[in-house]
Symmetry: C2
Subunit: 322 residues, 2 copies
């Protein structure tokens, strides 16, 4: 028997069949292209149908499905809010998937919940009951595991770490994405660099050669490596924000581990010792010394592993009821 | 039958016998005076012995004991760390109490855990599964309830909200107590005012009449009422910090309620609408609009109610095992 984990991202869909032990049997990646709204729903249900039909032998027959979505999964309604998929404001994903999955149980959760579930199943949070996955990509979110369970909050919106207030006073730029995300996400790194370039008219470094609107965090990391002073200022400020965020998560949650992932970690993994140094200044003195700060073990696969684990957990709870 | 709730504070001990329905049958307050170390332990065990012996009729016989301590209660060892009680670095409170309680079950938890438990039993968090008690007194701590259970963390230190990093850059003053506590606790209000008085040599208002080291938050609130400009600056900055803290707790935990208590709330309860306005700027936009921000219903009794509820919960779990 097998488990199907599906990770819907803003630009692509990953599907993986797992053994119960967490080994990947097969994996497919499909780019969303210009699909939006119900076309994305149809892509998912079509893929599920194909996989269910193709699994011929008993060995790889799908017994449960887990789906990770880039946004909020409302547990009571089965609907999904995904800001980067046009038309997915309150999308009835669970209902649609159930039409093709039949008797096979389906569970949907947010990408950040799936990241920490993935790490706790097959990554760096194995054997942790209290651990946090801090996902720093285009945006910022945290998958928070508390006493062995993912923290949901009263309306499934817990873990919105990008909205952390970390610097006074409030600035209008924070309105759409939050203070932490504005300053220290992938998009934030580019924005902060753009703003610095504007006020540093005398600067003549390598970032000057890039059209301001086209600067990405990757340009900044590469300029950092050649000692560019704008890039140094931006990254050093990010390290301060990342360290403060770690401190706040540790002071509030007292977790065993903080796991950094997402597209930025990636290139920023080398700064983990600096982030730790910054966090040590700010956090509750006992718990900040005890916490382990690590990179994701699963990288870009954390979501699909987490989706697989959703499936396994659903299957276990169904079987316990029998 | 009755439950015994004991709330140990930094300066006094409160003991209350409760019915299972949460009505107080009797209540005693004893000031610690100059007691320290094992004298405080003896005071507690002595009081317990007296109460157990005096409860004659079946009606008020104590069936379980809960104790709230001003610090950390280590669940695995039964030991207690309480920074304001001299010699209570790793104090074997559970062991000592068990020597007088005999067969009666005893549970110890931190004051912040007890505050939210008290509110959830008999105060403003009744029927909440996700709620936070933000205690702003001499120091700052948060009792955090997640899906109906108090958040402990991996080593019982969760909820150290006074250590939240809310303003860059780091200042040496934050080393002993954390950024949020330095700026917006009762002691912090006095410290920040003292620092402002130092740099405002031309100021000639009412705070000038108080010896700088003797200024308390109560002086600041009273000066605020007469429009004193230093007091206005200090309180307005506190409102900003309190709002940012609410925003961070709401973005991370998505609770139904944030309940403000502790000695400062009290006089600062009238600022809750301002705190809400500030929080609305910073927090995750959906959850910050949904959260209710309220004052404690139990005030100074939150801890002793929480201790009573600890006893009730312990009794229920013991009875379920029978």
């Amino acid at each position: 028997m097998a488990l199907l984990g599906i990770d819907l991202g803003g630009t692509k869909l990953a599907l993986a069949a797992f053994t119960e032990e967490g080994k990947i049997i097969r994996k497919d990646i499909i780019h969303l292209g210009d699909r939006s709204g119900s076309e994305v729903g149809k892509l998912i249900t079509g893929q599920i149908r194909t996989i269910l039909n193709s699994a011929g032998s008993k060995l790889d027959r799908i017994k449960a499905i887990g789906i990770s979505v880039p946004g909020i999964s409302y547990q009571k309604t089965g609907k999904v809010w995904a800001p980067n998929i046009q038309g997915w404001n309150d999308y009835p994903l669970l209902e649609e998937v159930k039409q093709v999955s039949g008797e096979i149980p389906v569970t949907i959760d947010s990408d950040r919940a799936c990241y920490i579930l993935g790490e706790s199943w097959q990554g760096n949070a194995r054997e942790c009951k209290d651990a946090i996955f801090l996902a720093i990509g285009t945006g910022i979110g945290a998958g928070i595991m508390v006493n062995g369970e993912v923290l949901r909050g009263s309306n499934d919106i817990a873990g919105a770490a990008g909205w952390m207030a970390l610097d006074r006073p409030f600035r209008d730029e924070y309105t759409d994405c939050g203070c932490f995300e504005y300053n220290a996400s992938g998009e934030g790194i580019a924005k902060v660099a753009g703003a610095l370039l504007k006020v540093n008219q005398n600067y003549d470094g390598e970032l000057k050669k890039i059209v301001p609107d086209k600067i990405t965090s990757h340009n900044i990391f590469s300029a950092y490596d050649s000692g560019d002073r704008i890039a140094l200022a931006v990254i050093n400020q990010c390290i301060e924000y990342w360290g403060m965020a770690v401190a706040n998560l540790v002071s509030l949650f007292n977790p065993e581990k903080i796991i950094f992932g997402g597209g930025v970690f990636g290139p920023a993994v080398r700064f983990l010792p600096d982030i730790r140094r910054e966090a040590l200044k700010w956090g509750q003195p006992i718990s900040i010394k005890q916490v382990s700060i690590e990179a994701s073990a699963l990288g870009g696969d954390a979501g699909v592993y987490g989706a697989g684990y959703l499936a396994l957990k659903e299957l276990s709870s169904v079987n316990n009821l029998l």
